[in-house]
Symmetry: C2
Subunit: 353 residues, 2 copies
């Protein structure tokens, strides 16, 4: 498996982008992070007139063997039940995606059940039904881990072919915050900062979750310099696919919007494989799941929203898509000082970034 | 002038609202602040199915005599130039309002120039062209201050008659952050926390601004228990109208979304006149203007967005409108556990709010 080649964004067009932003009828820098966001999208798309006409969210669903150790408040059936809910349009991700004009694609990356829906927005990419429980044995083989990363490559190429301008990434799968914690701990983030109550568990389950992650790392000794080793030993099918998806999206020069902790753990792996992938990522929100801040800090990404959400599914990502779109529209739709006949301010040094 | 009677929101329907939120297909509490926001809108609208079909932003524009003391980086003509830009649809507020499906109304609350536009979205409510410079004399008479507060009442009634479900409030006027600082200082907030660079001024101008506000308070001694006294001595026409607007909107049981520092200074006055007004207010964002945090803390409102914006015009407010709308749609469009056939989690005590 080869990691896709990712180019750094071309900074030679940055002065032109900044000039465009500063020509708009507002004090220099007064739209704060929206200006930074607009600039980043423009750099990724290599234009002073970035486009966000077609928006998609890919929600990766799979089951995790570790759920068998009782680390979640929810039974494992909920993974498939929620995927049916996604396909029926009744979940939070559907409501927020519709609100922000984002198309929802659901990927069965390895669920226990086959949902078997006939829908163009339902994509099956599986080699197995649930990973193994990494409390006992590696989650999957190296071969399977590579296959799932490569399936992610394929899905990013599909999004590119579909003409998608921006992609949010979501995750669904009972046990996913435990897997994410193990992946991040394997990447040498502090374990204590990573274990949280997920979709809400009691303190006894929380202790069990922490112990389980620590023991799994001790047992399997995943190599932090080898993402396939980490994925196969303590990863998940969805995490592997998201890792590949993000790497190839970056390689395809597409902006990617992260959601919560499981998605961000995949982003961490992608950036360990190729640090330049981060140039194409936006942290949609800061989740209330404790480990999320540690991962975003490691990725050096600042979240766009902070609404104390902990649902996953891509919900924080698609809400952020709307903020990113506002930033892009600023670039395209606002009048310039010259065009609108508005007087400029004194160009104080402190005022110019 | 009588302050409109404001009823506290009816908490007897709160258990029903919470039950509705907890029946939706997501772990209890997992949508964080969106759940709080949805609950607050539902309480204000007295329904478990809140509505956000019709959204408006009212941008209050007026000139401030204190601009004559050179406290801004921009010439005073910019107030009217930007209002023309609003009416032509080229400003940031237009772009973001269009993005979020919000209608823009611009109120000439006392600009130096008459823009004289013929548009149903342009409203003139003025008794004068610019307030006086409060560095020298009171900004306006008590009679004028009362008249402007009452004009605000009338505009909130107009919004109610128009069937608007939620109103964002914005402000435009060169010098407005100086006026807002004076108003907040008159309300006994710490002056040091209030003086900032506004749309960006140099350190010399910043010192002048601070000295001017302190001297104006010493000279005029506004009575913090009398909002008309504060408004007449160190206020602005737009601040007075927004104060009245927010009081009457609350009286009309309409949710109001604040923008930055000048708008929030009016919210502070409204809440000093009638603390129950705060139950109808949402802090759209935390502005990068220093004084804003102090005012929101005094109002006990937590901002929805924090994007380092410092533009005003209602831009932060209308972006937050979209988040509030997402929260409302959650209440109306998400499937329930029962309806979607999704298994519920263990109802751990720690999991239930």
């Amino acid at each position: 498996m080869d990691i896709p080649k990712i180019s750094p964004v071309d900074r030679t067009i940055e002065p032109g982008i900044q000039q465009r932003i500063d020509s708009l009828t507002k004090p220099v820098g007064s739209l704060g992070r929206l200006e930074e966001i607009a600039k980043r999208v423009a750099l990724i798309q290599k234009t002073v007139k970035p486009v966000m006409a077609k928006k998609s969210v890919y929600v990766f669903a799979s089951d995790h063997g570790v759920a068998g150790s009782g680390v979640s408040a929810y039974p494992q059936e909920v993974t498939a039940e929620m995927v049916r809910n996604f396909l029926a349009g009744g979940a939070a991700i559907n409501v927020f995606a519709k609100h922000t004009g984002t198309a929802v694609f659901v990927v069965d990356a390895g669920m226990k059940s086959d949902v078997g829906a006939k829908s163009g927005n339902y994509i099956v990419r599986k080699t197995g039904r649930s990973t193994k429980n990494f409390a006992d044995e590696p989650a999957m083989s190296r071969k399977d881990a590579e296959a799932h990363v490569e399936m992610g490559f394929g899905l990013a190429d599909k999004a590119k072919e579909d003409g998608v301008d921006i992609i949010a990434v979501g995750d669904m799968g009972i046990g996913n915050t435990t897997v994410a914690a193990a992946v991040c701990a394997a990447c040498e983030l502090q374990t204590e900062s990573l274990i949280d109550i997920g979709t809400v568990i009691d303190s006894k389950t929380l202790k069990k979750k922490e112990k389980l992650v620590k023991q799994a790392l001790k047992k399997h000794k995943p190599d932090p310099r080898d993402i396939v080793d980490v994925l196969s030993k303590v990863g998940g099918y969805c995490i592997a696919q998201m890792t590949g998806f993000m790497l190839k999206a970056a390689s395809n020069s597409m902006p990617v919007v992260l959601d919560g902790f499981p998605v961000s753990s995949a982003a961490l792996l992608a950036c360990r494989a190729e640090p330049k992938a981060a140039e194409y990522m936006f942290a949609g929100h800061l989740s209330a799941v404790k480990g999320h801040k540690a991962v975003l800090d490691a990725l050096k990404l600042e979240p766009i929203l902070d609404l104390n959400m902990r649902l996953g599914e891509g919900t924080g990502g698609v809400l952020a898509v709307s903020v990113i779109e506002a930033a892009v529209k600023m670039m395209n739709e606002m009048a310039t000082f010259e065009g609108a006949g508005v007087s400029k301010g004194k160009e104080d040094k402190n005022g110019i970034r």
